[in-house]
Amino acid sequence: MSKPAAPPSERRPTDWKGAAMQKRIRRRYAAERRFRVLGAGAVILSAAFLGFLLLTMVAQGWRGFTVTELALPIDLRADGLKIERRQLATPAADLALASAGLEDVVQNAAVRAFGPEGDGYLAPSAWLAVRTAVKRDPSLLERRATVYVPAATGFDQALAGEGDPAMEAGVARLQKLGAISRGFNWAFLRESDSTDPVAVGIWGALKGSLLTMAITFLIAFPVGVLSAIYLEEYAPKNRWTDLIEVSINNLAAVPSIIFGLLGLAVFLGTWQIGGHVYGPMLPRSAPLVGGVTLALMIMPVIVIASRNAIKGVPPSIRDAALGIGASPIQVVFHHVLPLAMPGILTGTIIGMARALGETAPLLLIGMRAFIVTAPGGFTDPSTVLPVQIFLWSDEVSRGFVEKTSAAILVLLAVLLAMNGLAIYLRNKFETRW
């Protein structure tokens, strides 16, 4: 650390003012400053990376929340759409409109209104917007009207100045016509997956996530809290208890993909042993299957958080309750558990947030189906938000880039809200004994 001390015989008081000592002190202080800057740099760079990631997502994703719409003049009767009003009232209306050739009618209308390349300006799903409009207002069948339909991805990019020249010419012409309008893309929050990037939405994935999380919570929370109570309050200290503790600690560190393999093996096992019983009856991408897998994954997180919260309740509470005649069960359920609840809930929310962002195990068990309608229940085929992001990120069409980033923004917003709630709960209800 320092140079060897001078022999005792020559020992004199240190000359702090001496040039050599001053130099040495300066060097040490410079090192101190460098170290400090390095530390601050590490913190700032890490935070900057987070900021850069968020900014990139916002820069790419904000357009995903907007939609470019074209005002399309349309006259369904004149264009020869052969369909009766009363057919629109039946549940088979979609089918009837499709087989009456609505798609062609809309394309023809676009060509007539916007020129020979007009149908290329419309999104492939534009006729679905007309279909919705007709179903909402059947009088459209008999009169001329203007319907707002989504524009194609290429058109949208041309509008942002990144498209090809032909498209930009079209944009200029339509701008002169005043047919372009931009607005908030409600369909993005209302619809599900689609092959057309303009028509995709996250509602299906979001609902799938909600259903999956419901199953995860219903299993992981009670099981996690109950086993934490047992281990912390009642378990005798023996080999079995040690085994339980070791396996919980290990489970908390097992990579998530392993839980996917477990889910797959169990599912395939029942698939084979049960003689294909579940195959047709319970799809592999059901929220029930995914929820159980994720529940096993986050259960150790909840157990560990709950145990810490229960440990934090001072023994005097237990002694007082026991002293006035409460049974051991009453001590825990009437006194310890309510006091530990804020900590338990915080841990649970953090675990649920982890489950909500998890992708790999769900990919493995097969929750990667192409879902065009939002799931109605726990056994319907569905997808979840992170898997939807993964699937969209694989799409080659450029329109999916902004949709992927927009979906990421939604996912991050939900996670941020959950973590914020956890921090709020911790700060509000944390008791210092």
Binding site: A42, I229, A253, P255, L264, L415
Partner: protein
């Protein structure tokens, strides 16, 4: 009735049972002649337990059994005679029939499936109602039995508490069952794999190309060494080169230098890095970092640089691990006795000298354990490498070239076509077992290190 709705109805019945029993017990109490053994609410719980638990257990069993019964009934119906004998085709038609039963306007279904749909619907309805009736019967029978036992001297409390204890024990056993389940399923599938491919060929083979498997010698193209190397290179080398300096320095700065306000704001900010879902990191790595790394490689004179380089995946993974290393380092720095720090400062050492020569050496076992845990997390990380790393298995020391990992290969092997007995699919389980064992060992070693270290100061 749908099992979820039915569970709510049963819970409602349980509530009614609870209220009734409590009211009854309260009436006993009023006489004053005979004191109740248990509190009225405990009698309530006793009845609620008997009302709710048997039908719920029945429902769990029933919902596992009834799809099979529905299937049996459908297959025995005369309409099903036209079904193919091949299990795969038959199941596909049945699956379509199930969809049509739900949504009659599905036009693309097989005609036979459309014919079968009413049969499916009828069978489902029948079994659903049988189940509902049986569950209701059980609920009422249980409630009646329990209510009949309520007397002033009935020991409701001990019964309820014993059941609750059983519940607690069962809940804590689930962790063991999960561990056993993981190990058993990985082990079982891996044994089947190793019966087709010698274990030495898998562990020491250097050629990995599961797309082309020679049926006579499947092991020749299933040598996992390139995967192990790629996993080690990306997860334990590149990612740690980012995570260790940044994590350690952040922890040092935030604990030793930063003001309380900075610490209060920056610590959660860094922790947010850990809260970002891995699929987001993967997307970011593939879309933003990988092209940048490729450009760098081209600048460095490699015009054919891969856009799926090991560096891009490793860098982003390292950033993801920063908060993990940082919080482990934070904990172990905080565990160093203040006297050591104060002593060093009092001797005239600067803060940085104190940190690098006293605090960090004293906290080293904890830091090392934290790094080991971080490595175990990095090599088990999946989505970043699935989205940003390459599928080509090469052994390379050049971070600008492509490398693949164990987790990436597991996902690739299992998300192709579904042939569940091929060596290709089973190889995924063997890789999973390897990953499981390695992360387990890393964790055990890390915990050992931490334990030893704690004993030194307490």
């Amino acid at each position: 009735m749908n099992p979820f709705a039915l569970s709510f109805v049963i819970l409602g019945l349980g509530l009614i049972g609870w209220l009734t029993a409590r009211a009854r017990a309260l009436r006993f109490d009023r006489g004053g002649a005979k004191r109740l053994h248990s509190l009225p609410a405990q009698h309530g719980w006793f009845v609620a337990m008997w009302t709710v638990l048997p039908p719920l257990l029945f429902l769990v069993v029933w919902s596992a059994v009834s799809p099979g019964l529905v299937r049996q009934t459908v297959l025995q119906s005369p309409t099903a005679a036209g079904l193919s004998d091949f299990a795969f085709e038959r199941d596909s038609v049945l699956a379509q029939a199930r969809e049509v039963a739900k949504n009659p306007y599905d036009t693309e279904a097989d005609p036979l499936a459309r014919q079968l749909a009413p049969v499916v619907r009828a069978a489902r309805n029948r079994y659903a109602w049988t189940g509902t009736a049986a569950a209701a019967l059980l609920a009422f029978a249980g409630a009646a039995f329990a209510l009949s036992r309520i007397r002033p001297d009935f020991r409701a409390r001990s019964k309820v508490e014993r059941t609750l204890m059983m519940g607690l024990l069962v809940a804590s056993l689930i962790a063991i069952f999960t561990t056993i389940g993981i190990f058993a399923s990985l082990f079982w599938e891996s044994t089947r794999f190793f019966s087709q491919v010698p274990i030495t060929q898998f562990l020491f083979g250097t050629h990995w190309s599961p797309q082309v498997i020679d049926a006579k010698d499947p092991g020749a193209s299933l040598g996992a060494v390139p995967l192990f190397w790629g996993t080690f290179f990306i997860g334990a080398v590149i990612a740690m080169l980012v995570a260790i300096p940044f994590g350690l320095m952040s922890a040092v700065y935030l604990t030793q230098y930063a003001s309380a306000t900075t610490r209060r704001w920056m610590k959660p900010t860094l922790e947010m890095l850990a809260g970002v879902p891995t699929v987001v990191y993967g997307y970011f790595a593939a879309l933003t970092v990988a092209p940048a790394v490729r450009k760098l490689a081209v600048l460095l004179g490699d015009p054919f640089a891969s856009s799926e380089s090991a560096l891009a995946a490793g860098l982003v993974m390292g950033v993801m691990i920063i908060p993990f290393v940082s919080s482990m380092a934070d904990d172990s720095l905080a565990a160093v006795p203040t006297a050591m720090r104060d002593g060093s400062l009092a001797m005239g050492a600067t803060t940085s000298e104190t940190i690098s020569r006293v605090l960090v050496p004293a906290a080293l076992p904890g830091v090392v354990a934290g790094v080991l845990l971080a490595v175990s997390r990095a090599i088990g990380e999946t989505m970043i490498v699935v989205m940003a790393a390459s599928g080509a298995a090469t052994i390379t020391l050049n971070p600008l070239q492509s490398a693949t990992t164990v987790t990436k290969q597991i996902v690739d092997l299992l998300t192709g076509e579904a042939e569940f007995d091929s060596p290709k699919t089973l190889a995924a389980f063997a890789l999973g077992l390897t990953l499981f064992v390695i992360t387990l060992l890393l964790n055990i070693v890390a915990l050992r290190v931490v334990k030893k270290y704690r004993e030194a100061y307490e």
